[in-house]
Symmetry: C2
Subunit: 429 residues, 2 copies
């Protein structure tokens, strides 16, 4: 299948040439040319005109829990531990596989229509999520998040399930699905259990993804329980000897930032969720200055409460300026890289996140002929400081057009909305 | 003209009954009934079905500078003083009345389509802005913002112009236009000049609107120049003896907060702009606790960079939780009140901001049948934490439908976008 996209302004996110004029050519799942004219003799099977639009790499959401969209607005304005233990976990205990399916699909519809073409998902019933990813056509880095606050037998079963899932699905769905291994967090998994995940990560040659240092209480508990802060704790357990992506990492000392840099640990910054749960504000300018790779995640819809990556991109650009009194930190282009190419790098995808020949054809179109995008003085600025997920008109993943003029092509949105509402009614009933 | 709006869920923002089922009835410029059935014999001239939508009061943006939309993305990621003095003021010096007209109209199109039905505007060439408001059908509280860093003659002329404008336009456009008097800020107006504005405010019986304590540097300069911080400075000048709306008020001591409460001074909190310009984070939870009336403003598109009031509503709900580590501060409903009824109260409009019989028919419709609004567990939560201006489908002001299914009915959006881009090209050329 050969596709020619024409008449759009192209934002490559490739710093060597950020904006390009001309056509973008796709063959099967890959970009073969960015800008200029199609070569002599090259005939497109499909030509798409995107006048008045900008095309750019699809957004990469590096932390979330898609089935939790059913719990959007379910328990707001509460502290993290009470929110989790008194509300979210009891509700999740009622989840069936059908709830996981429709919660995940609801999130995937929102993400695709909103310009996210790759997402990280840490949850349970991951086979159901993987099947949803396969069906939807989106790219997913999926992991079975395991809470170890249970019996030895349950722990063993959960680990076995996580390993089985990771092995079975890694590389599936034309390579769109990759996997990781996820002990949920240092405060929900005993040390020896985390070590078993490290072992499995070595055996399967897969990265580790875990929550860490989201709240001050959690850091303090770690010190009480293990005598050290979470970074040193995970370092000693060998977690950082593996490729590792941490979600949150809000509360860090200078020394901890240095360790993350030294071990090339990647951080998924979730500013919306951290604010909403009052967890605090991560030291992003310091992380960037130290050279730590930082990407962006929405976290789940029940702590955000949407999956709009443009909001996270805007928040990371705005928030740290206000906190540090320095308007030059996290400039617009840095924020947009965190939501695209740095997100891809953070989950070890080396053919996603840029519009460049040879890369996977994961791209989105944005309507720039709207009042909040005028004048076209600086479109990176407009995307970061003015756009929202509702400005996305089209999305391709692996060369397949999954959103066309604002509508999903692979999923039945109306049915998914209906079923998700029905599932929530049962959980809440 | 009698209008019946049916099939929508009604969010009144009236705490006595927040949600109502049934019809909303409008006669001419006023709401006459909220919920239930139309009375026997009452015949609508127009019936509008809004199935799958929620209707609520239009949003009130209590601080901005509409013509500055031409400078969206023009000079990002700079400190306030450099941004103003090296970039914005020189560009604004090139503004013609045509630039003011199209900049203002571009902002008004964005605001109307995005659910803002009332806005405060502080700028120059205010007759042009008032004419745009008259034409658009939106509600505007307009004020000629005066910078007094000039000769005595110029100062006198500017004051006279501000007074003439305020007198001439107050109550015009079927009452949609109200006015205020605006010395720009304590650091841009000498004390005796501010006193002349206080005098004029008494004579015209109009409120005062000014910037105050946006940055630490400005507070320090005030102490250097006048021996006191800005609140005491303005108090001594008699500004707070008048009805007064302050923009920003980021840097306040406990004593200053008490003075604002004592004098019933209202604060327009502009979280997006304060973050972007690295001015700091206002003490909103403390202001609310003290009983100060706080509303929300976008500030201009060149420090925001859009006019999406949903973003400011979300930011005020999120930001202060993260900063104070308290997830219970600024709950969703409080934030939404700040963007609606508290905004109206803050600019002394007593018939706007609620859906209540007798109030002006200023209302908006939101599409709630979308992935990021499902399930319908808590729609106030969804509007605050998940919605954006692009979710607005319809808007009425004074009983007139100004946005219908996402399109402006009184303004030619395409032409305004074209002319605004042309104006910017000249300014930038």
């Amino acid at each position: 299948m050969k596709i020619k996209i024409q008449d759009a302004l192209i934002l490559t996110m490739d710093e060597q040439q950020l904006y390009v004029q001309g056509d973008l050519l796709i063959e099967n799942d890959r970009i073969i040319q960015v800008g200029g004219q199609a070569p002599e003799g090259w005939e497109a099977d499909e030509t798409v005109s995107l006048k008045g639009r900008l095309i750019m790499p699809g957004l990469v959401n590096t932390h979330g829990h898609t089935p939790m969209s059913l719990l959007r607005g379910y328990a707001d304005d509460l502290a993290l531990q009470s929110w989790l233990q008194d509300h979210i976990w009891p509700a999740e205990a009622k989840y069936t596989e059908e709830d996981v399916r429709y919660g995940s699909l609801l999130s995937i519809v929102e993400m695709l229509k909103g310009g996210t073409t790759t997402f990280v998902d840490m949850y349970d019933h991951t086979d159901v999520i993987a099947a949803a990813v396969e069906e939807a056509g989106i790219r997913g880095c999926l992991t079975r998040g395991v809470i170890g606050l249970c019996s030895e037998e349950e722990r063993a079963a959960k680990l076995a399930n996580a390993v089985r899932f990771a092995k079975e699905w890694h590389g599936k769905a034309d390579g769109r699905i990759t996997t990781m291994l996820s002990p949920h967090a240092p405060y929900t998994c005993p040390p020896d259990y985390i070590e078993l995940f490290v072992q499995a990560s070595i055996e399967l040659n897969l990265p580790i993804h875990t929550h860490m240092s989201e709240t001050i209480a959690e850091v303090e508990q770690n010190v009480r329980d293990y005598g050290v802060r979470p970074v040193e704790h995970l370092r000693r357990l060998g977690v950082f000897d593996r490729p590792c992506l941490l979600a949150h990492a809000v509360h860090l000392t200078d020394e901890e930032i240095q360790i993350l840099k030294e071990y090339d640990v990647r951080v998924s910054h979730n500013p919306g969720s951290n604010l909403k749960l009052a967890s605090g504000i991560a030291r992003v300018p310091d992380l960037l200055r130290a050279g730590v790779k930082v990407s962006l995640g929405t976290d789940s819809s029940s702590s955000n409460n949407n999956l709009d990556m443009f909001e996270e991109i805007r928040l990371v650009a705005l928030l740290h300026k206000g906190v540090t009194y320095d308007p030059t930190v996290v400039p617009a282009l840095t924020a947009l890289k965190m939501g695209t190419i740095d997100g891809a790098i953070s989950i070890w995808l080396d053919e996603v996140g840029l519009l460049r020949p040879g890369y996977k054809a994961d791209l989105i179109a944005i309507d720039i002929d709207q009042p909040h995008m005028i004048p076209h003085s600086d479109l990176v600025s407009h995307i970061v400081y003015s756009a929202s997920q509702k400005d996305v008109t089209d999305a391709w993943v692996n060369g397949k057009r999954l959103v066309k003029d604002g509508a999903c092509t692979t999923l039945d949105e109306e049915r998914i909305r209906y079923e998700a509402a029905r599932c929530f009614a049962r959980i809440n009933g």
